[in-house]
């Protein structure tokens, strides 16, 4: 069967069918991607609409009144800041240095491989198991009782494995050839880390820590049983209302109790709380993304 010279590059039925197939496939997959995003945008829009009547700076700074059916969320907001700061002050340094140890100093034997496995798996543990651990270990065994200390330490243990894992990834992204070049001129391990490894892993480390900030701010179960409470009397606008052994309110806990356990609350208040929580978390994550993009643009090799 000879091929007519003029039909080599013209459209045939086959190519038309292929092109249609391709277009259909493209739109089907696009629709699937959209199916995740569009409902979410609608939901967020709905939340905003319902929350609107209550959203204002005053809402943030005010304290809840009348049995929590009115007023603002100040104590919960401050409480979340306390919890997140304390937990990250503990987990970030330990996590980063532990990752430095695991990636730069530890020998590659079976023990360290088990540790590696344990760290990765711990990152996927359900949050309620962290609550169980916090309750048993900090509230009862260590006798810190229900307090900010217990809750922060629980959050610290929750964020620790992920900080270790993401820091390790950042350290591992620095090519080995740099380290070898440093060792060849007689630099010690620490001198190598300080001069070449750490400065170039900073963006990954920072991103990892910031992401854990947002995670710690949003979690409810680990703090619900270790130190966050329903209600605590706080002065409006007071920046340091809690002592370390006190219990505190928290945004995530507040949203939970408002929506499940307080009858008669004005409708827009829980929505506004949800919006504030969501907004804070998104803001922090956006900051992490900005950091990552900015530092990646300044990559040194």
């Amino acid at each position: 069967m000879s091929v007519h010279p003029n039909t080599m590059f013209t459209e045939t039925r086959l190519t038309r069918r292929k092109r249609r197939q391709e277009a259909i496939a493209k739109w089907v997959f696009c629709a699937m991607a959209a199916a995740m995003i569009v409902p979410l945008l609608l939901i967020v829009g709905y939340l905003l609409a319902r929350a609107w009547p209550s959203l204002s700076l005053g809402f943030l700074l005010d304290v809840p009144t009348r049995g929590m059916t009115e007023g603002g969320i100040w104590p919960a907001f401050v409480g979340t800041i306390y919890l997140v700061s304390l937990s990250l002050i503990v987990s970030a340094p330990i996590g980063i240095l532990a990752a430095v140890y695991l990636n730069e100093y530890a020998k590659d034997n079976w023990f360290n491989r088990i540790i590696n496995l344990a760290v990765i798996n711990l990152a996927g543990v359900p949050s309620i198991v962290h609550a169980l651990f916090g309750l048993g270990a900090f509230v009862y065994a260590a006798q810190f009782g229900y307090s900010i200390i217990s809750a922060s330490l629980t959050l610290a243990i929750m964020t620790l494995p992920v900080i270790i894992a993401s820091t390790r990834e950042a350290l591992a992204s620095v090519p080995r050839s740099f380290r070898e070049a440093c060792w060849n001129v007689g630099a010690t391990r620490w001198q190598t880390i300080k001069a070449v490894v750490l400065p170039n892993a900073v963006s990954g480390i920072l991103t990892g820590v910031i992401l854990q900030v947002s995670r710690a701010a949003g979690e409810t179960a680990p703090i619900m049983f270790t130190g966050a409470v329903f209600f605590k009397a706080v002065q409006k606008g007071d920046f340091f209302p809690y002592g370390l052994h006190d219990q505190c309110m928290a945004l995530s806990m507040h949203l939970y109790t408002l929506s499940t356990q307080v009858p008669g609350v004005r409708e827009s208040i829980p929505y506004a709380t949800a919006v504030v929580l969501l907004g804070s978390v998104i803001l922090v994550n956006a900051a992490a993304i900005v950091v990552r993009v900015y530092l990646r643009a300044r990559k040194k090799w």
């Binding site: 590659d108 740099f178 070898e180 070049a181 060792w183 001129v185 007689g186 001069a195 070449v196 040194k300």
Partner: protein
């Protein structure tokens, strides 16, 4: 087979019955040889004959590879290398140039000043002096003297290899080890670096591992043919490259009959 001194120099490095294995695989099988002061020793042989591992045994960076076992003795100026009290000071006595050029992600100045700083030098004047001297010795000074602040990683391959040599010289080593340094750079730069090496031998002993046999012929005083972890022949370069080396294998490898 070692021909004894037509070279009246002292022995700088003595290697006795060195064995190296990665796990079950033996890479160096009991080799013994000497390196004399201020000579250029060429090491030739096909890939996987243990040449790179040999260099890494001398400056003990082999220890960074997991699962290695080293036996035998290597001594520098009579001092057994594996019993050196300060392994970092030992590494500063030995300069190492790797096959692939590596510019550290620091400024060019910091690249060369890195080793002196690690050794404890901190005065700006002294560092300036060392940076300039080493960059001149590595034939790189004129190209970078106006941009010492720019990143070392942004130089071309040939420039980065010269930067690596400058870095290797910055801690004033007695021994300079080069591991197939010309693999990733152009011939012009290679010839320039070979001129540098010819000048450097006045100050230090040079071990030149290369897979380009002609490079050994150009530069080395003595040449060692390493094959499969064992020394086939070690002799003056003229002998190795002549029509009558001691071993038939040498003749065949050098003339490209196998390899």
């Amino acid at each position: 087979m070692v021909t004894l001194p037509a070279m009246p120099s002292a022995k700088h490095i003595v290697v006795k019955d060195l064995r190296l294995s990665y796990g079950p695989k033996e890479v160096i099988r009991g080799i013994t040889f000497d390196v004399y002061r201020n000579e250029i020793l060429g090491v030739i042989g096909p890939a996987q004959s243990g040449k790179t591992s040999l260099l890494r045994c001398i400056n003990r960076t082999i220890e960074f590879t997991p699962g290695v076992r080293v036996q035998g003795a290597i001594s520098v100026d009579g001092e057994e290398v594996r019993q050196a009290r300060d392994v970092f000071a030992l590494r500063r006595r030995i300069g190492m140039v790797a096959p692939l050029p590596v510019g550290l992600p620091l400024s060019i100045y910091d690249n060369v000043a890195f080793a002196p700083r690690c050794a404890g030098m901190s005065r700006r004047g002294e560092l300036d002096g060392i940076v300039e001297q080493c960059l001149r010795q590595a034939a790189l000074w004129d190209e970078v003297k106006d941009r010492l602040d720019s990143l070392g990683t942004k130089l071309s391959g040939g420039q980065q290899q010269r930067l690596t040599i400058a870095r290797a010289l910055s801690h004033q080593p007695e021994i300079l080890c080069l591991d197939e340094f010309s693999i990733a750079i152009d011939p012009v730069t290679t010839m320039r670096i070979e001129d540098v090496l010819k000048n450097l031998r006045q100050q230090m002993t040079i071990i030149l591992v290369t897979n380009l046999t002609q490079q050994a012929r150009r530069l080395a005083d003595r040449t060692m043919f390493l094959w499969n972890g064992a020394i086939v022949e070690l002799d003056r370069t003229e002998v190795i490259f002549s029509d009558q080396p001691a071993s038939r294998q040498t003749y065949e490898y050098v003339n490209g009959i196998f390899g």
